[in-house]
């Protein structure tokens, strides 16, 4: 892919190569019907990357305001949502391993019963008055993030009983530019529903599949709490320098 102007002349210009399909989810997945009516039939068109694609919203929290990163209760110290209390921590870097500081993360997930707060969720499961299950926050100077929540439940897709989604948490991340805008969902290791999930198994490469799994840390036991702890790092597309020519 062409970079439209010289990187030497414009320090700070990042290099973005197309996603390597081998590390990604299949575009069309058998039995995932919408992928056959929505994925374009025509080949994607290659084009140079200009300022327009290499820039992107900066300080996006000025447009999409952040809040706190504790989803386990409505107000600090208030009653906790039902379910298993857990924490997630991780780090966001680019392909060079450089931390992405100030990246905006959006989280959304089902409650412990597998119910989302969403007009389109028709699952016959109860909402939890102490759980919102969505929020935004920023990564710190080292690209690190952490949040507290409740482990989500699994749920059936629509009114189908043949496909139950395993527990998972959605991540939406604004990286450095329009090119590394990123969305994914992260799964829990050892869940029996993982074996049959179309989306998780739509990542053919087993190593790549591990990159959408939470890594369990030893469960923390305090006098009052039993806390599941997980880690999930992300590598967003983009390199800060041009590779050496051999």
């Amino acid at each position: 892919m062409l970079i439209h102007f010289e990187t030497e002349a414009s320090p700070g210009v990042r290099q973005y190569l197309p996603y390597d399909d081998r590390t990604q989810t299949l575009r069309q997945i058998k039995d995932y019907p919408r992928s056959f009516t929505r994925v374009p039939a025509q080949p994607l068109i290659d084009r140079p990357l200009t300022l327009s694609e290499l820039t992107g919203p900066t300080e996006i929290e000025r447009r999409l305001p952040t809040g706190n990163a504790d989803f386990s209760c409505l107000v600090p110290g208030g009653p906790r949502a039902l379910g298993q209390f857990m924490t997630v921590a991780g780090r966001i870097t680019d392909e060079d391993g450089a931390p992405l500081a100030g990246a905006l993360i959006e989280i959304w997930q089902a409650n412990a019963s597998g119910k989302y707060i969403h007009e389109y969720d028709s699952h016959q499961a109860p909402l939890d008055p102490n759980f919102i299950g969505q929020g935004r926050f920023l990564t710190d100077a080292e690209g690190g993030y952490q949040f507290r929540t409740i482990k989500p439940g699994g749920y059936p897709v629509g009114s189908n009983d043949w496909w139950w989604r395993p527990p998972h948490i959605h991540f939406s991340i604004f990286g450095m530019s329009w090119m590394d805008r990123f969305i994914t969902q992260i799964f829990f290791p050892g869940e029996p529903l993982n074996e049959a999930d179309l989306l998780l198994n739509g990542i053919p490469d087993p190593e790549a599949r591990q990159r959408v799994m939470f890594e369990p840390l030893p469960t923390k036991v305090t006098k009052t709490l039993n806390i599941l702890e997980f880690r999930r790092d992300f590598v967003l597309r983009g390199k800060s320098k041009t590779p050496e020519l051999l």
């Binding site: 590390t23 990604q24 929505r38 820039t55 999409l64 969403h118 969505q134």
Partner: protein
């Protein structure tokens, strides 16, 4: 342990890049609503011509695609991006942030209120025809779709480095057209319909 030799071409090095996933059906409305108006930022009004940029998203068989998330990124009325890479960014309109979000309703309809962008200028002086970038995320899409919206005030023959890559017959599909039916509150409307798949498919770019 014997393994097939790994290809080491730089462009396709088996990267560590995290796998994309679908946005699914339950992206919170609260993350989208109130983000579709780009004409105001932190109490300031954007300069330039305010417009409605609206249309429908359909899939195979011309079926409306509801519940999609659309994200817009564009320069201001003078073609300046609010970003340090743009050599002119110090002159960017303080009333224009350049990013917005909209979602399609059950009929597939979406609407942004934004500013008609100006021509942007690359650091090497190359001019880009006035345009806005659009990302589409939806159930069924395991990766985002990206395309570029041009405006019918510009000729379809414009010599733009991105437009040039699109087969000539498909170029008109990248142009938002003035549409009086979309005009409201004294602002002109531009229609940009998206066909995800099927006859008249919108050109999308490698991502």
């Amino acid at each position: 342990m014997s393994r097939a030799p790994v290809q080491t071409r730089t462009e396709t090095r088996p990267a560590i890049v995290s796998p994309y996933g679908t946005i699914g059906p339950f992206f919170p409305f609260a993350f989208v609503d109130d983000a579709n108006d780009l004409t105001e930022f932190e109490g300031r009004k954007a300069m330039g011509q305010h417009i409605w940029l609206a249309g429908t998203v359909v899939e195979e068989g011309n079926v409306p695609t509801g519940n999609t998330l659309l994200e817009l990124w564009q320069p201001d009325t003078n073609g300046i991006f609010r970003h340090p890479l743009d050599p002119r960014h110090a002159d960017a309109d303080p009333g224009f942030f350049g990013f917005g979000r909209a979602r399609t309703d059950r009929q597939g309809f979406y609407r942004f209120r934004t500013v008609l962008p100006g021509q942007s200028r690359e650091p090497d002086g190359t001019i880009r025809t006035a345009h806005a970038n659009l990302t589409i995320l939806a159930i069924g899409l395991t990766r985002r779709l990206v395309t570029t919206i041009f405006f019918s005030d510009q000729p379809e023959t414009a010599d733009d480095p991105v437009l040039r890559c699109v087969p000539q017959s498909a170029r008109p599909r990248l142009f938002a057209r003035k549409d009086n039916a979309l005009a409201a509150s004294g602002l002109p409307g531009y229609r940009f319909d998206v066909v995800l798949r099927g006859a008249g498919e919108t050109p999308f770019f490698v991502d």
